[in-house]
Subunit: 448 residues, 2 copies
């Protein structure tokens, strides 16, 4: 993956090398602002970041290609032996986070720290964007099952895998992606498509054929021709299954007015003693539609959520950035750095994030402080890599999922609404404020 990078990372590194700039520097990875309709961020992607940092190397093929792009031999020789040797501090996956809080902090020789930027941003962008979106969908479902069903419209193979992972972290119960089931141990779910129904002359033949193969776990798609007629036929098959000692799992609705249809279907099924048959809904769902359906008491037991969650359709990226915050001076001491470009101000210095909690453990506010300050609250960043070696016991995906649920339970609900959430307070320590004021003054005098 070493060439999975923006070209400018390599040109900058070539110039650092050429100018013998090997001093360490610190970069913060953080998200500048919340996407609309989100009250918080759910951080994900650290495992893949650390795997990358501990394994990134340049092959002969890479070096031969870079030679064709005009890089000189001394730099290529440097890349031949390239390893990431820095220290990394990070928040654990499943951490509830807010804008401008460093999520990953990298301290390494500046060439190394710069070279890894693109991969880190790409990874955290995808997984944190999806975990955040999926978490808001799961909240909207108020304890009802949500399954991630978006594989066909997620952005390629890696997205298909990482969306399944991140939405599982966020509380989805499973995915339709079978490869994610194999790779991550995530429960996989699926029913049938309209094509299956249509491939049989009669709808009920399709139901019977499917129920024959899966007599105890069939979910029958009933909207291919007419929902209620489909529900009648599903009920007939359910009764046939009962006689053979089996039970129909559920029916699925995938179109139309899900609220009205689900109520009619529930009534129809209940009238036949099929209270145990679940109603599964899919089709263009997101957190807003789910909230609306449940507010109106739609008779839906589980939701299959696809494209809108799997592409984070209302905002298909987070404003994640990776910014230099300190460099080492010629005297060998770290010195804080800040940027002034319009609307793109950064926070200087090596920092830590502290979380304040009330007596019940509920989050009350965060504070971004300098790393060496003493603050009487829980620090979010811990050391996860030292001299290029992982110093972190990777939690299992299930442990990350449980941590995320626990963390989210501690965030008061006023901060969790997809629309009109209150802004969670994130303060800056007095020392950090003083540093910012001092640097702003210097910059405005010195460079303008």
């Amino acid at each position: 993956m070493s060439l999975f990078t923006d070209f400018y990372e390599l040109t900058m590194c070539a110039s650092y090398f050429d100018n013998q700039q090997f001093e360490p520097a610190t970069f913060d990875l953080f998200i500048r602002r919340l996407p609309p309709n989100r009250g918080y961020l759910l951080f994900a992607g650290l495992e893949q970041v650390l795997q990358y940092l501990s394994s990134v190397r340049f092959t002969q093929e890479h070096l031969a290609y870079l030679k064709t792009q005009g890089f000189n031999q001394p730099f290529l020789d440097y890349l031949r032996d390239f390893k990431f040797t820095g220290d990394v501090w990070a928040a654990p996956e499943g951490t509830v986070a807010f804008p401008c809080e460093p999520l990953i902090r990298v301290t390494a020789p500046i060439i190394e720290a710069q070279l890894v930027e693109t991969f880190l941003l790409n990874t955290v962008n995808l997984q944190t964007m999806i975990a955040t979106k999926a978490s808001h969908v799961v909240n909207a479902a108020r304890g009802k099952t949500v399954i991630e069903f978006g594989l066909r419209r997620e952005h390629g193979i890696d997205a298909g895998m990482k969306v399944a992972r991140s939405s599982y972290i966020a509380g989805c119960q499973g995915t339709s992606n079978v490869l994610a089931g194999l790779a991550y141990g995530i429960p996989v779910f699926g029913t049938m498509a309209h094509s299956f129904i249509m491939s049989y002359p009669e709808e009920i033949d399709a139901f019977r054929a499917f129920a024959k193969t899966f007599p105890n776990k069939s979910t029958l798609l009933i909207d291919t021709y007419d929902d209620l007629a489909g529900a009648e036929k599903a009920a007939t098959v359910a009764k046939e299954l009962e006689k053979a000692g089996h039970k129909l799992g559920g029916v699925r609705l995938d179109s139309g007015d899900l609220e009205a249809i689900s109520k009619k279907v529930r009534k129809l099924l209940d009238a036949k003693g099929l209270e145990y048959v679940k109603i599964f809904a899919s089709g263009d769902l997101d957190e807003f539609k789910i909230a609306e359906l449940l507010k109106n008491c739609a008779e839906i037991d589980a939701f299959g959520v696809g494209t809108k969650m799997g592409t984070s359709a209302d905002k298909p990226y987070v404003d994640v950035i990776y910014k230099l915050c300190e460099t080492m001076t010629a005297e060998g001491v770290f010195s804080p750095i800040m940027k002034l470009s319009e609307g793109k101000v950064t926070l200087p210095g090596r920092k830590q994030v502290y979380r304040f909690k009330d007596a019940e453990g509920n989050y009350t506010k965060d504070m971004i402080a300098l790393a060496d300050e003493k603050v009487n609250a829980e620090p979010l960043l811990a050391k996860v890599m030292e001299n290029g070696k992982v110093t972190y016991d990777f939690p299992s995906l299930m442990e990350i999922r449980e941590a995320a649920a626990e963390n989210l339970s501690k965030l008061p609900s006023k901060y969790k609404k997809p629309k009109g959430s209150q802004e969670y307070p994130v303060e800056r320590s007095q020392n950090l404020k003083n540093m910012i004021a001092r640097l702003e003054k210097t910059l405005r005098n010195g460079q303008a």
Copy 2:
């Protein structure tokens, strides 16, 4: 990639197998509607589709996993020997296409045709979405250079690669993604980040260091502290380069009012005899911002377009679907199939798309007809795979890119506007209309 699929593809196939359904069927892959702000679709992704179809297999590990998911041994034995053996007709990549036109048509034993659905949709969704979006961006740039710069916020590794590929097909001049340069031979571009500037005590030191390494192709980022002060320093470095017999490539603006600043920077550079120094702009660009900048005569020579193009941010998916359109009856003849679900009607039968042109070769209208109809116009679909073997000479990426440019030049500009495009006429042949009417009648009588 065999398990990179929705679970329901496998459950349906298991049931087809269990019920000994091996007859061939035909599926159409098409896009139901245009995304907003697009006048047409630019089809991409066929090469990866055919690579997948000719190589999809189940490994022992896959089969062992599927066994844990409740599939029975006879079906697993079937999968052990699974190969795709069908026929595929498709439009070439770089084809200008419109809603409901089949782009890929698969005829194969129904288990095979069903099993491959998810991968085909995922691949065509990503690449066609991006090629379409990027094509509208390139149109807006009116011949000026557009470079794809979105890697850091594209959705994972595969998206990073395929966005570079599809946007190059659409007419971008290159990408920042170095691995895409290696894998696809796409030209790679890059300048420098703010962090590079900030790592030096003085901005001009950073410019000099970079120019030392790349004396003839440096593009200096001038907005870290103050654009015009940055431009002054870049001009100083350009003059130093001139003395050493070199030439500064350009300057880059990445924030602020690009129109106003570009005009001031151009004036400043020209006043110093630096007319040859290009102005490169980036920062939150899309087709609308580029059109506005050029309308107002911004002095910009090239655009770096990132997140909004690389995630297709205003609509991060296309409504691509894969629908059964014919099955084989017990008598061994193909019979057309149609679906009636609300708002999701499909077109029955095996079809071809014909494109009508005027005397200059400009597109005038399309017609969706039955595959065996004679229509005096250019058919868009050609056979690309027979009995599971590719029967198609893959064009090179450059050839696809040239074909796309040629095709787009034949689409009248009234259909190409991102806002307020006229709707391109896509008709249905009389035979197709008659078939639809007949099936609708049967369905409404038979199933409701």
